[in-house]
């Protein structure tokens, strides 16, 4: 993890023409950026392309970054908007995110994890798109409500309501799905 000072120094270097300094910023935030894009697009190749495109866009607009917010928050907003525009452009059938989580393992814990993923994915289908995005981004490690609100360009209270409502709905749906599963056993 790089400190705020290091981050600012890297940004200064990039703005000063030292393009290779940007590689450290990309390396630092690539996983978060990719995960955000993946949560929105549910498709790894598209998410990878959107995340790359977001980083390229951030590089081109770096001069306009006013440093009032953290670079990461600014960058994630760009990645979020880029992924949303990809979603609008490429409306092909989505590959399930859960497919990737299953992997090739066949041991009990992997199967259990696959079941969990399948259940949560099924429950997620019942949410509207904005609520689904809000709760998925909120549960990406370390993101606060403020950060997600900033990323999605929404008011903090709106976002709080979305996450609250989504969790309620998910809890109800999961309970229903698990009951149905229990009946079929």
């Amino acid at each position: 993890m790089i400190s705020l000072q290091e981050e600012n120094a890297l940004i200064d270097q990039v703005l000063g023409g030292k393009q290779e300094a940007y590689a450290r910023l990309v390396d630092q935030y690539k996983s978060y950026a990719f995960t955000i894009a993946l949560k929105i697009l549910n498709n790894r190749p598209d998410a990878e392309e959107a995340a790359q495109d977001g980083f390229i866009k951030a590089f081109h607009y770096l001069k306009s970054f006013n440093r009032k917010a953290r670079f990461s928050t600014w960058l994630y907003r760009i990645i979020f908007n880029t992924a949303i525009s990809y979603k609008r452009k490429n409306r092909h059938p989505m590959e399930s995110l859960e497919h990737h989580d299953r992997g090739g393992d066949t041991d009990e814990s992997a199967l259990e994890s696959a079941d969990k993923s399948a259940f949560i994915a099924k429950a997620m289908e019942q949410l509207n798109e904005a609520d689904r995005m809000a709760i998925q981004l909120y549960y990406i490690r370390e993101f606060s409500l403020e950060e997600v609100a900033e990323m999605m360009g929404q008011r903090m209270n709106t976002l709080k309501v979305r996450v609250h409502r989504a969790r309620q709905r998910l809890a109800d749906e999961l309970t229903r799905i698990l009951k149905e599963e229990a009946l079929t056993l």
């Binding site: 690539k30 990719f34 392309e49 452009k89 989580d101």
Partner: protein, 176 residues
């Protein structure tokens, strides 16, 4: 089963997020002890928390950084309008050009020629000396200029929304 209030739901969620403390936390604990329904709801919400919270960060492909750095000089792909929108815009521009050509061929603008003089306009006459020269208008020529502008616009739309993104995507897929 007793119905949860919104406040109780909120308290349970805050509790799971670790945001509940002091008197509010103590109150929730008391309520939980006396309410099996509340305990059950906590478990339901905890399940969501556990299911979603166990998701870890996903890693992109190993050459991600390299590819971003290789493409830094290119304009971002999403900078361009979508090919579908571009195609619709292109069709619109071509239809407009076609209509202009048809109207010109029909001879509608053949008779629209003449001089526009500004001397008759009172404020111009009053404040501008010497007088502004008269403007020669040729309707047919004006329409031809409009067709020319439309064709340039069509070329730009084709380039920005269809050709460039297509070639950039191809270049991108070859570098994978």
């Amino acid at each position: 089963m007793e119905k949860m209030t919104n406040d109780q739901e909120e308290s349970l969620q805050d509790f799971l997020d670790g945001k509940l403390e002091g008197a509010s936390l103590q109150q929730l604990k008391r309520e939980l002890e006396g309410s099996p329904a509340l305990q059950q709801r906590l478990e339901e919400l905890r399940r969501v928390h556990t299911f979603l919270g166990s998701k870890t960060l996903q890693s992109p492909s190993p050459r991600f950084v390299e590819r971003v750095m290789q493409n830094l000089s290119k304009a971002p792909l999403s900078y361009y309008a979508s090919p579908k929108n571009g195609l619709m815009l292109l069709v619109g521009v071509m239809i407009a050009s076609g209509m202009l050509v048809m109207v010109i061929s029909a001879g509608t603008f053949d008779q629209i020629t003449g001089l526009i003089t500004f001397d008759e306009i009172v404020p111009v006459k009053k404040y501008v000396t010497p007088s502004i020269p008269a403007l020669h208008i040729n309707g047919k020529l004006l329409m031809k200029v409009l067709i020319g502008i439309n064709l340039v616009l069509a070329f730009l739309v084709l380039d920005r929304t269809i050709l460039r993104p297509l070639f950039q995507r191809r270049a991108g897929s070859h570098s994978l």
